[in-house]
């Protein structure tokens, strides 16, 4: 239920960027959300739509790139998404692979309508 706070942060950040660029409106907000971030994307969309009214984001679409946990194998350099919690390298079966990404909580891009 912290998605309301996350949505408010997104709106605040986007508003700041839009004002900086003298934009009339924000048309699209693109986020990167990792599966380990602890954020429920469905709930985030709901909160975003509630909070965007009467802001520069009133007509903005929210686009979420959901990122799976990604690991790298130190022995064969293979990089792969983790499926079914299988952390071993699918290429060389090395079990001690390293975490690369999957806890993203990032505002990646905005589409602005300039004045």
């Amino acid at each position: 239920m912290h998605e309301m706070g996350i949505a408010q942060s997104v709106i605040d950040m986007a508003t700041r960027e839009a004002q900086l660029k003298n934009a009339r409106a924000v048309l699209r907000v693109s986020l990167s959300i990792g599966e380990l971030s602890g954020v429920d994307t469905e709930s985030l969309v709901f909160c975003f739509d509630c909070l965007k009214q009467d802001t520069l984001l009133a007509s903005a679409a929210l686009e979420i790139a959901y990122k799976r946990r990604r690991h790298r194998c130190p022995s064969c350099a293979h990089e792969f998404d983790i499926l079914n919690l299988e952390l071993a390298c699918p290429q060389c079966q090395n079990e001690a692979t390293q975490f690369l990404s999957g806890d993203e909580l990032e505002l990646s891009q905005l589409e602005l309508e300039l004045a």
Binding site: M1, H2, G5, I6, S9, V10, M13, A14, E17, K21, A23, L27, R28, L31, E35, L36, S37, G38, V39, D40, L85, L87, E95, A96, F99, D103, L105, E106, L107, S108, Q109, L110, E111, L112, E113, L114, A115
Partner: protein
């Protein structure tokens, strides 16, 4: 009408929280304070573990506790009985602590009198995961009256915690909880996670927990020296 303009931002959504947390972490480091952030579902035994921990420390130990709850100062009152400084953070609805709450709660505390700071987060396995409080380590608690599959259901917090404490193990004879399976699930999410099985009620496992804290403090001292 002008065509839309794409604007790369690439900023962390909680960058304001992270900025405050980084300042807190720097200030803990500078003063050689070990700060740990305890996270679990409601009722997993965070407060009782802290009570027994405070009880185990000699009175000369420089320990302090910040305890977060949505309502009431019941936990602060329970914890204040042990003679160490304790402060309640009441979030009035928020389901997690954030770095600004910690900064505010510590503002008029003399940090030079503290060596170990425990933060007891609001009971919740999801939301506290996203908020860095400047702690050196997150610690997740899971009681044996919950399910063994909690690490799989809430991977974020098990992934981000250095230590998992399995609590209420005195109840193992009465509940269908398979400790090995719970360990295995935690390791599937986070292969290098440390684990302690413990009952704050009977004291079983408390030595391992106190040793873990001492080892983290020793490691920090050698890093600061």
């Amino acid at each position: 009408m002008n065509p839309p303009v794409m604007e790369k931002v690439a900023q962390k959504i909680l960058s304001e929280n992270d900025r405050i947390a980084a300042a807190l972490r720097a200030s803990f480091l500078q003063r050689n304070i070990l700060c740990v952030n305890l996270i679990s579902s409601p009722g997993s035994g965070k407060t009782l573990l802290l009570e027994k921990t405070l009880e185990a420390f000699p009175k000369t130990e420089r320990v302090a506790v910040l305890t977060g709850d949505i309502q009431t100062d019941n936990d602060a009152r329970r914890l204040a009985r042990y003679g160490f400084p304790v402060r309640q953070i009441t979030t009035a609805g928020a389901c997690h602590l954030d770095a600004r709450m910690i900064e505010k709660a510590l503002a008029d505390w003399d940090l030079s009198t503290i060596e170990t700071l425990f933060i007891e987060n609001v009971g919740n396995l999801v939301c506290p995961t996203a908020y860095d409080l400047g702690e050196e380590a997150k610690i997740v608690l899971l009681s044996v009256t919950e399910g063994e599959d909690k690490p799989l259901k809430y991977p974020g917090i098990f992934f981000k915690s250095d230590l998992a404490v399995f609590t209420k193990i005195d109840l193992l004879p009465f509940v269908p909880f398979h400790l090995d399976e719970a360990h295995e699930n935690a390791r599937r999410i986070h292969p290098s996670i440390e684990m302690i099985d413990l009952s704050a009620h009977t004291g079983q496992g408390m030595d391992a927990w106190m040793q873990w804290l001492a080892a983290r403090k020793a490691k920090r001292n050698s890093a600061c020296a």
